[in-house]
Amino acid sequence: MSWIPRLRSLLKRNRLDHDLDDELRSHLEMRIADNRAAGMSPEDARIDAQKRFGNSTLFKEDTRAVDTVGWLDECARDFRFALALGIGANTAIFSVVDAILLRPLPYPEPDRLVRIWESSAKHDSPRNVVNPINFLDWRDHSQSFESLAAISGLMTNLSSQGQPIAVQGMQVSPEFFSVLRVAPFLGRTFTSAEAIPGQDRSIILSYELWQRQFGRDRAVVGQKIDVDGRPSEVVGIMPKGFSFPKFRAEVWTPLPLTRSEEWKGGRFLTVVARLKQGVSLSQAQQDMFRVANFTAQARPDNNKNWSANVFPMLEDVTEGVRRPLWVLLASVGFLLLIACANVANLLLMRGTGRLRELAVRSALGAARSRIVRQLFVESLLLSLAGMAAGLFFAHLGLRSLLALVPQNAPLPRSEPIAIDARVLLFTFFAALFTAVVFGLVPALRLSRVDLQNALKQGTLRGGVGGHQSLRRCFVVAEVALALVLSVGAGLMLRSFARLISVDPGFSPEQLLTMHIWTSPARYQDDLKRSQYLDRILAEIRSTPGVQAAGSTHFLPLTEKISGSCFSPADQPAPSPAESPSAQFLIISSGYFQTMRSALLSGRDFDDRARFNSQPVAIVNHAFVQRFYPGQNVLGKQLRVCWTIEKPVEIVGVAADARQAQLQDVPEPTIFLSNSQAPMYFATLLVRAAGDLGQIARSAEAAVHRVDPDQAVSDIQTMETVFSDSVSSPRFQAVLLLVFAGLAVALAMIGVYGIVSYSVSQRTNEIGIRVALGARSADVVRLVLPEALALAAIALLLGLAGSLALSRAFASLLFEVTPTDPATLVSVCFLVLAVSALAAVLPARRATHIDPMVALRYE
């Protein structure tokens, strides 16, 4: 059996065409030359040569039909296309799913790593950051863990060769490295002595930073470098690639923790721990309930109604992306199924054409199992060829996929996403699976046909009727799956459109943002620090082109919020655990003007808000609505737990704006002035006309005029911030849209195939009808009902499927229900229209049949 060259020629049709063209041309030329030599005129010589060939295009078709079975060749594109696409898309998405969700974390015995959070039913937060004193209690009283470590993210200013650079750092308790069981590449990790305040002047560098800034100089270990304005000793270098999920840290510094008063209130730590050998997750959880109960009793002011939750670390860090990724993988899985159905259909058709060959084999004594095996091996070869092409698609696809992810997104995993051995294995199994699905069913089906009968009939069309119903089932499945995918894509698209049309409450155009982190060593003094930012802002405001400037401690749409309890100053103070709480932002004067957010009443912070003057606050509209509905809040006094001993006076009410994410409804927020509650870090906001790149350079220069050692980082436009903040729903919407488009295209090919086939079966009848005067509309009417009936069944099945899957989808959608009627109806119409189109094409072609040809057809 010579199907290997046949398969090869299938894959190389272009080459073959090209060769054949050349060969025929050379033949023509030689004939013309001989004719001329025999005395013909050039014109006659050419005409004679061509006449001997007849129609050269038709002839070429004929010759090629020998190389590949004729109709198969027609469908060859589908074979390659459908399989390669299905396998390629699956490989690309799987490589992402594998790298993020499946692969164990890159630490020894990762299954024993957990993260522990505080939890509060009242605040509806199962994963709340942890209070330092609570952490110390956990460490001392829990029994399930080998060790626990606390982490706090921190920007760090390094001064290297006089050039200030800001790098992302992590403050970690000394157990951090032993919890992860990662040894340093050079030097050592922190000792417990370094967790004592005042003895924490040590720093560990990442391999990458060491390479970039210190040229891999081993002598750096043991040296002192300037960290946040204080000399610190470099004690170690971490191994290449070491990282901790969600923190893009390049330096680690000790986190000194004590049970001092100053730590009593806030919650800001991330806690990671390693389970003792043999301790189960639920045992650890029980243990932590017990410990949390203890802390709640020991310090009810802070901990009443608070508990603790233990999550496996891998599950915890992938929390937000798990469902979207599984949905994407399921979607490409559907796409692969559609491709399989498509190819199975083509194989059935092909098999029908080969019934005679099979009959002969069977007559010559081939057992049924051998024929099945032969057909299956052919399918396997096809799917392996599909796999090869698919890998190419996957490579391209993955590259464009990763390009959709914003550069500075804190990915849950930092290991590279690539097509590696694991992914290749998956791809191989996917190919095997496709071969089984699309190859085995037709093979079994074909081998069951009465081959003797087929042989006797002596016609290639023998015994095809039985497969038509199977093929219809495949097409119905294809269209139904395509519908499910399209509904998903439609919902995502609508949800995304809703999302980006949300009014954020500020205007992101022509707005520049940049981050600064103030050295604690140099600006330890609150007064000095409070004036520092004002000086920087004044310097920036005087820069040409700048219209307004301000600052906030957490930039909107970067998923960062701060919360604090508060209470009305005219009532006795309740304990912090019982006080109401609100978000708070520390801003400079001019923030609202710079953001173009409206002040609804009262005034902005101004010169009167100085460090030692009467503390003031601005609240947002949501705050008034929640806590003082219908009242005038101006002049009211609040005790805000976060900062101040003295109550603050409300001087203004600002319009609501989105803070953590675009989809989050504005929460009650208290704005405090940085002049009165100075922070160590701020995001500067600069509104300017003209080229923002130019403005960014001048603004940075302005900062350096105030302090040449002040590093400026994360310079980006607010439009970029805005766009990055919706990158994940955009990613999902774009991908689902692509998958749905491909699915619909494949389903269309399926419908087209089945209608073409029934048209060819009815060529005789159609010919007679045309001869008797039927017009093309009549013929279309003859063929269309079959396709529409199939589409209708598929529509019902697809809708049922969509409804069944709607629950899995709901949490991914914004302001759109998974049963959104508008989406369902328009997708149904789309699929119906596409099916009808796919059916009309062959039907219309049928009307061009020459009645005489049709009648002679058999």
Partner: protein, 110 residues
């Protein structure tokens, strides 16, 4: 009608082509000329049958093909008979003999 002369029996074309290629590799046009010449113009191979036949034989492995230069310096695709082709030729010749004998017997009998 001239057509009757060309209406070769199914399968005969393969035999003729193989026999033609048995001595020396040739390109398609040369094959048509050769058959026409040797049969003294009685057999005329039509291009429309020749190339499909050649490609089928190439698929089957009875001939192989490669590009070369023709006598008057044109690029042409040369067909060469393979070992398999040689076996097939022997087989086909035997078949042909049996067939012509059978036909002759029938004719004599009638």
């Amino acid at each position: 009608m001239r057509k009757s002369k060309n209406d070769l029996l199914q399968g005969t074309l393969t035999l003729l082509v193989l026999k033609t290629l048995a001595r020396v590799p040739m390109h398609g046009y040369r094959i048509t000329l050769h058959i026409q010449m040797v049969s003294k113009d009685i057999l005329r191979v039509e291009e429309g049958s020749l190339y499909p036949a050649l490609h089928r034989m190439e698929q089957d492995g009875s001939v192989s093909a490669e590009w070369g230069m023709s006598e008057n310096n044109r690029r042409a695709r040369y067909y060469r008979m393979s070992a398999k082709g040689r076996k097939q030729l022997a087989e086909e010749e035997k078949n042909w003999e049996r067939l012509t004998q059978a036909v002759a017997q029938v004719l004599e009998f009638a």
